[in-house]
Amino acid sequence: MAPIPTPEKEKLGKVIVIGGCGFLGHHIVDLLLEAYKCTISVIDLRTTRNRRPDSDNVQYFDADITSLSSLLPIFEKIKPHIVIHTASPAAIGESSESKTKLRNEMYRKVNVDGTQCVIEACQKTGVKGLVYTSSASVISDTEADLINADERWPVIPAKNQLEYYSTTKAIAEANVLAANRSLASPSLLTCAIRPAAIFGEGDMQLIPGTLAAYTDNKTGFQLGDNNNLFDFTYVRNIAHAHLLAAYALLVTTQSPTAPLDHEKVDGEAFIITNDQPVYFWDFMRAVWKAAGNDKGTDHVWVIGRDIGLVLATLAEWGTWMVGKDTPFKRRIVRYSSMTRYYDCSKAKRRLGYRPIVSLQEGIDRAVGFWLEERKTAGEKKGQ
């Protein structure tokens, strides 16, 4: 794997990372500190977790992105050149309808309204480049396969999108891209990064979810035939792509001529993967293995996709009738038996993107972190 960007650190000027205490955000802050010359400010709802030590000179601001009045003073004070907007609530399916409604309301508020505030703040304070963390799920309706999909694939319109989270990400992405060289502020350049299935240290979804199956001794099931290729992307590669994009935007603003269409970064969306699609269950097994599982596949029961869907429906009804929730849902069956991998050539061509951490290395780091966390949690309990 290639070493981190260049020996000569690239300059990014003043950077604000929104959501810089979150999972992806704090990895972006780490990489900025390691590989770029810049001054870093972080905006987050709460800036208590994932903080860098004071010696790193990262400034932290508590603010709510859904309120422009809360954002503007910080922007005016910092006068950032680059804004990287990664803040987004975690996408989790909810059991009850009322909970789902509340959660959807939050998705809309943070992803759509919040992003709109960020765009306005950028426009009002002369920001040069805005990089938005979108999601590769904007082109997935959660049911149909995505086979080697690239940026030519259509964004799923709201009426066909079964995951409301993805709808809100898609709306926000469209707004961000529309703000590129817009009439309101022609000097602002924007682009969007669409990561595919992010995982890494501090990840709250993929790795803990996968390892829960291991600790609960549920490694003996396989839904679907496991011929479905899937992209899982290590968080640091995604952070790397964000910074390449930010740098490209800065270079574009400094260039006297507009870029050619086939090398344009501003106004564009980029799918980012580890460029190593694997069979879905192989990834799960590799994660379990990294956590210490020494089993092969002899004990595994293969449940076909269709039978899995029927069983999941029964399980959902059964548990609903007794007023409980089941982790075994149709959504899970579909997800684990669908093909969903991408072609990230556009990012390679235009951003010079190459993954800097391999999938195996990423799994080892992520699981190592999780094991460490669990150990400290266990020790705390033991005290």
């Binding site: 080697n148 259509p154 694997v278 097994r285 092969g296 999938l359 195996q360």
Partner: protein, 483 residues
Amino acid sequence: MGLLGQLLYFSVHPNQLRSILQWKIWHEPVHTRDPKKETANQRECFKYLDLTSRSFSAVIQELNPELLLPIAVFYLILRGLDTIEDDMTIPLETKEPLLRDFQNILETDGWTFNGNGPDEKDRELLVHFDVVITEYKLVKPEYRAIIADITEKMGNGMADYANNAEHNVNGVNTIKDYELYCHYVAGLVGDGLTRLFVESKFANPALLKRPELTESMGQFLQKTNIIRDIKEDFDDKRRFYPKEIWSKHVDKFDDLFDPKNLDAALNCSSEMVLNALKHGDECLFYMAGIKDQSVFNFVAIPQAMAIATLEIVFRNPDVFKKNVKITKGDACQLLMDSSTNLRSVCEIFKKYIRRIHKKNTPKDPNFLEISIACGKIEQFIESIYPTQDPKKLSLLHTGEIDPDVEKKKAEDSEAKKDVFFLLLAVIGTLLVISGLMIGAAYLAGARFDVAFDEIKKGKIFPKFDKGSEEAQSIVNQHDHGEL
């Protein structure tokens, strides 16, 4: 396997028998050489080709006539070199100058060599090598230059290895050494062949600008052979698995063959397979550059065999006990499927890749890497033959195409077409049959003019017996009506 054994085998594996029969019965070569039109010397050459090559002889002989002899001669020359290099009974003092000078030997009329040991299986070729030289001199100068260049490079490479005592005692050390060895014995051949293909305009000249594609073709075949032949080579006191790989799994190379180390041995073998799989996508890419069908078959058949061989050796304990081979039926099926077009070769690769992936186990230290290597080949195939069309997907979402309506429409128009053709067929058949009947009746002397007039008079059903007088009178009236 005796006849009885074969009968038993085929009775439970009818598909295998089917493939063999289909190949034998239906196979029609793109080109067939015609021994009657050949010189006696050329026939001699093909005799030695059959003698020295089991797998390549057939595909060479189906090549386009333009390349048939150049490639046959090229093969025999390299086989000659190989026969000198391989023979451990030839002392190094004799061997080295022969290897290094072979491209000049090719210019020496009447040169033969009988210094091979009596056990050397291809000894005969060198004893009669003058035949090859005669034919070589008749090859077009452009092709000859390519053959001479590769012969020189390969001879020198082989001489370096023969000189390298370390290599001969301990085998190959690093992965880099291993790939260099494969380059000398296979990559160079590929290079020569690609240049011949491009020179004869049977391949896209762009292949010359991407030498790594050609290299992968050779590496893939050679590595597969090395992985498969580990036991045979070991019995011959040769080892080609690089130490860099096997030392990760066992302490001594010999330990690979100890049944109690089976798990380690399998992991070692699968790391070798992983190393070979890395070439898969480039092999497919290379084949996209071939323009002539016979040349395509020539390059595609060995690749298809190689991917199938990789699958059968992958995590197969027998590899350390005997020479594992794909079955004859599978081989025939592969011959049929691969000698068509790139798309079916891609299908073959996908099929065997998925089988390798199925056998892959998390117990293997390279579990994830193997899965990724398989995925990479699948993704490459998808990039040249995409399953999904983003334009269609877009129309689907904008509602310009409703998938259900669209399907129904297609079905309806299909049904309409069916009815139309069915009617056409029925009417056509009727017309043809009536035509035949009327024609036959006319030829036999039927009086349609009379019948027509009678019908006009409204007498559709005649009220008299056939051949009766009344009938005759009607005919007479008709014939002499004006009288």
